[in-house]
Amino acid sequence: MDILNIQGITKQYPKFRLDNVRFRVPGGSVVGFIGENGAGKTTTLKAALNLIRPDSGKVEYFGKDVRTLSEREKAGIGMVLDDVCLPDSVKVREISPILSGLIPTWDGERFSELTAAFSLPPDSAVGALSKGMKMKAGLAAALSHRANLLLLDEATSGLDPVARDEVLDLLYAFVKDENHAVLMSSHIVEDLEKICDYVVFIHEGRIVFEKSADQLREEFALFKGSDEQLRALPPGAVIRIRRTPFSLSALVNRKAAGTRFPLERASLDDIMLFYIKGESR
């Protein structure tokens, strides 16, 4: 069952076009949304939150168009946007009374547990918190919705490795329920590699691929060698090539490349870099 289904979203801006973006977020999964700055990740998440009006296409949450969701249904989507959006003048302990009056499914006890777990000082104003602590406050709020879907836009940026690990554990626990799912964009690809079941890669407003973590591991590999060795690879094996004055490397299809040359594991960073900076054969 798909919790979120993005169906051909197109949105034209003066200098940018989100072009026929489509992918799914299945229940019980974490979907990593990757791409360089300005690729269209935040715009896509905004479309999923009905914060922008696409020129065409639609977004469905549990099969229902997000534009027609009721207040209670919409509360089933928890989000942390790149800017946390909690009022600066409000103290951490005041967040729960405010959001309980705003979000019909609010769970105050859960919020208290999470703020304690994140060591958020209850008497500090949100504006006085560090970026990482603000992010934790935003995450605590998103996880206290009794939400089915979490949309996280760079939610782990600004967090130290220990806090990031705690957040990933929380997300992992969250998606154990088949009615829950997470769609997260992040530049910390290491986090995505740890937790994602699927990865969607967007480049210049277009989806390059939507693959499961297993598919990525099986399909992509790194080749490092000489021009001569590269030429010896089967024609369909080479996806992208990167040349520097001192080295030559290529992103290859593991199966098509065969076992003639040693191949290395391609990380998400590598895959992104090759697609964005690399050249075709």
Partner: protein, 204 residues
């Protein structure tokens, strides 16, 4: 709505405290000098300028985006922006009524109060949609014009009551003045509808 109002109150605590201090100071000076006009303008200015402060804070904190993304209906969000300014307008009208009781020979007739209240409501109703549509930064020019109209309008209305005594001299005029807040409330209702439409169409 409860959450939106609570946020509004907590976020505006400092400015509301400052407003209370300023208005009290002007009120006392007005009573001592036996010049109620001294604080009428300040009161109207406060109610009319409050939305720009509140909406500017919302813009900085991206609160409206958060509230809409959380599923809060645009109507509730829009309506929440009117509660404090309208309450301020009412409190200022009540304080002005108290002043008229305390000043032995006030220059403003009693019937001027509902008209001032109506004027404040209309100005607030004009400004909030402008700020929501264009943002406080861009809407500031329009806001300045509205504030100038507010001050000039209240002064003109005040002068009209004092010098001409035209409206209050007739029963029909007095009834018209007494019922004028209905016009203000209608303007507020229309303005809430416009603000809701703006929020519904707004992209973040």
């Amino acid at each position: 709505m409860k959450g939106l109002l609570l946020k509004e109150l907590i976020a505006s605590k400092a400015i509301l405290r400052w407003y209370a201090f300023l208005f009290t100071a002007f009120f006392i000076v007005g009573i001592v000098l036996q010049n109620e006009g001294f604080f009428f303008g300040v009161g109207v200015f406060m109610a009319v300028s409050y939305p720009s402060i509140s909406i500017a804070a919302d813009e900085k904190e991206k609160w409206l985006k958060f509230a809409l993304a959380s599923g809060c209906p645009p109507l509730k969000i829009a309506a929440s922006k009117y509660v404090i300014p309208l309450t301020l307008a009412l409190l200022i009208a009540l304080a002005s009524a108290l002043a008229l009781c305390l000043i032995p020979d006030p220059s403003l007739p009693w019937m001027g109060l509902p008209v001032l209240f109506t004027l404040t409501l209309i100005l607030v109703s004009l400004m909030i949609p402008v700020y929501l549509r264009f943002g406080v930064e861009h809407g500031r020019v329009v806001g300045m014009v509205i504030i100038v109209i507010a001050v000039a309008g209240s002064a003109a209305a005040f002068g009209a009551f004092v010098n001409i005594g035209l409206i209050t001299s007739t029963v029909a005029g007095a009834v018209l003045c007494g019922l004028s807040p209905l016009l203000g409330l209608a303007a507020a209702a229309l303005s809430i509808a416009v603000s809701t439409k703006i929020l519904r169409k707004k992209e973040f």
